[in-house]
Symmetry: C2
DNA sequence: GTCCGGCGCATTGTATACATTCAAAGGCTG
DNA sequence: CAGCCTTTGAATGTATACAATGCGCCGGAC
């Protein structure tokens, strides 16, 4: 039973990520109160959190607006991700525990199975991305730095807002998996520089893939166009 | 005329930085309401912001506590600062404008004057640190990445909380200045790798200096011990 | 026709009363 | 005497009324 503020936060966040609330769209507190079914106080709490997480922007007496992302900002984000995820991978190389390594091994094995299985593209992509998150977050955890972990979480959240990691063709999945396999080897021999460079390549490739594939297939099955509601 | 929430934020933040509120100290909303002279709503706004900036931690029904920092976390912070400030310096090398370069030149000239001047240690340190901030923030700006700038601001804010950058001996100031001079040269010849490595050294040295000099002299002239009020 | 000024309204900022929840103390029982 | 349960109250979560503020419209003057 989550509290009202958390409920409002989740609700608004989902609506932003799903495209129900379009970038640049104006959202007043009153609207959100109605949409979330709670009072203004928790809605305000949720808004301020979403602002601090770069989902929303506010100007006084003009309501909150869904943050717009331009390609230059995307580049910034991915450059920072490359730097920090690479750093995390290097740290992880010398600190990773057998249990964490096993977790990554298992995830990668599962990925193998998915890519060779008979599931539809959408289902494949969805499962693959879940396992991808497992691999990455395990590396972050293995890096053993609370603040690095926090930064990476924020950064990836922000990337998510521009619907990036969600759009993937099967070839991109395979390329991505190739990086995972190499990372796995680098981790097993505990080579920090190798880990770092593979991870950096992995992130750069993701950025490039995003530039190539606009909004084609999304793992959640929604189209990128705004939902035209019945009314 | 700042609003109440901003006022409360500034007030509480100052009290944390000045040591009036000690690390680990419990702060209830009611206390802060009294201390700030505003109602609970803006106090809550301020608290949630301070929590998101790592000044405070909260547990439900136990009030907010001033965040404690241990040496391991300090190491994490400085490692990340080295990485990101180095990266910023590398980007700045190829992007810095003549105006920004001139600003840095001027700040460094002023630093020279201060170090060779006759002012007392405290005054020297205070002025030096102000110019130090100018140099660093100009580099961040010259790096031309909004998100990198935001991350660095956060990171340095966090370092401030542990009263680090504030404690400096004159020898450390001179060493620090040596790095500035080298950075200046590297920027003038627009050598990214040189800029990056100098900046990383600069940050590492700051961390090491902090480990050597505990809380000796603070630039704001306050002692590190809690202020014992008159009552 | 255009620019300036002031008024009205939409929207957020603030205060406060009430509901809910969890931590901690104290008593009961085995 | 120890461990669990109950009870209590402090502290936060929520709702709502009221205040303040800034945008945009409308009218008038130049």
């Amino acid at each position: 039973m989550p509290n009202a503020a958390e409920h409002a936060y989740q609700r608004i966040r989902e609506n932003i990520l799903s495209g129900r609330y379009q970038p640049g769209q104006r959202l007043t507190e009153a609207e959100l109160v109605e949409a979330c079914g709670v009072s203004r106080t928790p809605v305000r709490t949720a808004i301020s959190r979403l602002v601090s997480e770069d989902f929303l922007e506010t100007n006084r007496n003009q309501g909150a607006r869904v943050k717009r992302w331009d390609p230059a900002e995307l580049d910034e984000l991915f450059e920072l991700r490359g730097l920090l995820e690479g750093h995390a991978a290097a740290r992880a190389a010398t600190r990773i525990t057998p249990a964490q390594l096993a977790k990554i091994d298992a995830a990668i094995t599962d990925m193998d199975g998915i890519l060779q299985g008979r599931a539809g593209q959408l289902k494949k992509a969805r499962e693959f991305l879940r396992l991808n998150r497992v691999v990455h977050s395990t590396v972050w955890e293995a890096a053993g730095s609370t603040h690095l972990l926090a930064m990476l979480s924020r950064l990836v959240e922000q990337s998510l807002q521009v619907r990036t990691v969600r759009s993937f063709s099967l070839e991109r999945l395979a390329e991505s998996h190739h990086h995972h396999l190499e990372l796995q080897r680098a981790l097993h021999v505990r080579d920090p520089q190798w880990c770092e460079s593979v991870m950096r390549s992995h992130i750069r490739a993701a950025r490039a893939a995003l530039a190539l594939d606009p909004d084609t297939v999304r793992a959640d099955g929604l189209r990128s166009a705004p939902q035209s509601s019945a009314g």
